[in-house]
């Protein structure tokens, strides 16, 4: 949060001068639309974006017990099933302007998962809807495509060397991806705060070789049948509570209370994906999980015996995580969107634990073991073996950065989308 701004920035008052105070005060879709329209003279060259993300604040669910007064659960939550205040992104592609405006204070965590195709230009529009819980803040937002090679600053999202997107404004990032692999993205404004508050997610680039490969390996060694994004993040209650209560945390005291997998902790991680959006543009919660309305990404891995399964790990927490897949060895084929190969030398390796630092990505492929018999699934666990990074009840299980790998005897149909 930054209440006052660099002298180089426009103040809210300047906007009012420019735009006319009445417009902002009355608000509404019709008025905002004028703000979001590109300059008329340039409309001819503009093509529609592939995706539109909205940036705003919101509330998510973490296990309300054990309590950690006064920080958890947050007493300002609009509904007891939501415990934790966040900043975040929403995918509002295809929505009307009215629907998009409705999404203020409906951010999700982790951020929407998306992918690009190597060699195909991709446009991502970012709209800053503002922060409903913090009318005192005028924070801009950006999208930083973390790891994108040979980026130009204009599309990099680091605000001091580039531009950032004020409230009620939009900006379109253009990416021409040349390098397949697993990346991540996050807002880079006030980055320690905005990233930690939830503005982070996983993005990947599919190789020209085909959708079922991680890289252009030339020999099929990175081929897979199913893929699952495993985006790691953290929640330090005190900082989230501070943001909703107009306070500032001392960041050098950072100590995460929960470590998350795709924005949830176990056993919520194995709950289903969200179910799209309703007529107001709001997210439809996963079946039987209204509390996970704004945490729509499931981490449940399902596969058939013998399937090659890709796990794309990324970490935008601030701590190392050591993700152990118990009972199934994995082959690490890529790191930081780079095929582990130098010339003809194979640098890939087998392991059952991958230590992932902040801002790193790992691509690991395992072959699902034979099924033990019967019709039910064999269950394996994937978890962070830094157990004390989650605010659990003292027993190993609930609240952990953990999910399940369920191996079926060949009864699953082919995967259509990642994380399904």
């Amino acid at each position: 949060m930054k209440k006052n701004m660099l002298s180089s920035r426009l103040s809210r008052r300047d906007f009012l001068k420019v735009a006319g105070a009445g417009l902002l005060v009355t608000g509404g879709a019709g008025v905002l639309k004028k703000f979001l329209l590109p300059e008329m003279s340039a409309l001819a060259q503009a093509t529609p974006p592939n995706k539109i993300f909205a940036a705003t604040d919101g509330w998510i669910h973490l296990p309300p017990s054990p309590i950690y007064p006064p920080f958890h659960p947050d007493d300002l939550s609009p509904d007891p099933m939501f415990t934790t205040y966040i900043f975040g992104f929403r995918d509002v592609t295809g929505q009307t302007d009215a629907q998009i405006l409705n999404q203020k204070m409906k951010a999700q965590h982790s951020a929407p998962l998306f992918w690009l195709n190597e060699g195909e230009e991709f446009k991502l529009e970012l709209r800053n809807l503002g922060l409903q819980m913090r009318p005192d803040l005028t924070d801009a937002h950006t999208v930083h495509f973390h790891g994108f090679k040979n980026a130009i600053p204009f599309f990099d999202g680091e605000p001091s060397s580039s531009v950032s997107v004020p409230m009620n404004r939009a900006f379109t990032y253009v990416y021409r991806p040349h390098d397949p692999g697993t990346y991540m993205f996050h807002c880079h404004v006030e980055d320690v705060e905005h990233v930690h508050m939830g503005m982070n997610g996983l993005v990947y680039v599919r190789p020209a070789q085909g959708d079922k490969f991680v890289y252009n390996d030339g020999d099929g060694s990175t081929g897979f049948d199913r893929e699952f994004a495993m985006h790691l993040s953290e929640v330090w209650f005190e900082s989230h509570w501070a943001d909703s209560h107009i306070q500032l945390p001392e960041w050098s005291d950072y100590k995460p209370d929960y470590s998350l997998l795709n924005g949830r902790v176990y056993p919520d991680t194995i709950a289903p994906n969200g179910m799209g959006y309703d007529s107001n543009g709001d997210l439809i919660p996963p079946s039987s999980h209204p509390e996970l309305q704004y945490q729509p990404i499931s981490s449940l891995v399902t596969c058939n015996a013998g399937d090659r399964v890709l796990l794309r790990f990324s970490n935008l927490g601030f701590m190392q995580a050591s993700m152990t897949l118990e009972g199934i060895p994995m082959r690490v084929v890529g790191k930081d969107a780079t095929l582990l190969r130098n010339g003809s030398t194979d640098l890939s390796y087998m392991t059952n634990t991958i230590t992932i630092g902040a801002g790193e990505s790992y691509d690991a492929i395992f072959t699902a073991p034979p099924h033990s018999g019967g019709s039910g699934a064999d269950v394996y666990l994937l978890y962070n073996r830094n157990f004390n990074r989650s605010h659990s009840q003292g027993s190993f299980g609930d609240g952990q950065q953990m999910t399940e790998v369920r191996v079926y005897p060949g009864t699953l149909s082919a995967q259509t989308d990642p994380n399904t």
């Binding site: 001091s160 939009a170 990032y173 980055d191 030398t345």
Partner: protein, 426 residues
Amino acid sequence: MRKHSPLKLSKLAIVLMIAVVILAATPSQSQKAAAQGPQNDGMVCTTGPSFSLTSHSGYIGTPDGNVVYMWGLSSGADDFQYPGPVLCVNQGDTVTIVLHNTLNRAISLIFPGQDNVLADGQPDGPVFSGTTLSSLAKTAAANNGAVTYSFVANRPGTFVYQSGTDPAIQVPMGLFGAIVVRPASHSNWMFDRAETAFNPDREYIALLSEIDPILSQRMESGLSFNSRNYHPRYWMINGRGFPDTIAPNYASWLPGQPYGALAIIEPWHETDNPLPAAIRYLSVGSMDYPFHPHGNNVRIVGRDGMPLEGAALEDLAYDKYSIPVGPGQTWDALFTWHDPEAYNSNSNPVTVTFPNIMDMFFGPFFSGAPYLGEQGAIPVGTTSQNQCGEYYHIAHNHALYQITSWGVPMTGMATYTRINPPGGCQ
């Protein structure tokens, strides 16, 4: 709560940025005599192979406006500095380091990665008082003691030197530095491999460290310190926190912190600029620093003074966008920035409408245009530090709470890579 208003910090930052621009445009500044090759940016080598290092106490500035008591090692008769000088030698040199100690406690130096180190001509190693380990190396006694270390620099690479006495106190207090050993065959290779060739005008170092100001206060006050209470609040590159990291080497307003961390490169070009920059990452901190340069991956060619090569000398280098530099580790990397799109306003504009300038916040290093070497309109009242349309990419620790300075965000372990247009700023 913020200890200082961000506006105040912003003004300070802008003053520093202006100074960067002015100094970057002026090729020669007065430099300390001990340093070879005076320069505004890049790794400052203190050349040997015979060195004299003296311990001092002194004060450094931190990005929140604080002043912190530290210890440091300086070359010859130089005043206090933090960190110690970068000792540059050639493979095969017999390196001699005479350590003079002005502090009121015994200190020593250890040289991880060097073999057969001698202290005053005798094999060095752990020192015991009876059965109690008292030091990892022979000490220079308190109050003007001295000891002479020597070793043969057998292997090229990047190495740490640091205190071996009470290291939980003396290392975070500042008794450390870097050693660079150049291959006997080629001074502009990082290792004895052609793949590690770099542009000698673009050699950088990022020596990463952390500071607990309470530890410093206790030492300044002559009090003891229980390392269980150790809690770093500042994170530094080459002894400075952002935005001081982008100030030039030997900036006059940072008298005890002579080394900057701004890297200045130009786009890779097959004939005009074929060689990468070299960046040597080292850490004397207490935990991994996941260092993330924006703009492009780095190519990791060496670790801990060892080239990345196999038993048959095959090249095992690889690319990474986050470098997890662990305590005591060194990572040797090559860095280039390519311009694959070659965007320009005349024939190849970006395929998106450039918004009205009133619809964006402009960063102080933004040129006002998306294009390398071009500048565009900037909102009235905006201060720009951009000289000629050059690009800036941040490079920072991605444990983001470590790019703060005891309450002030967007400071600490961060710096910039400046990408000039081909041929430089005209």
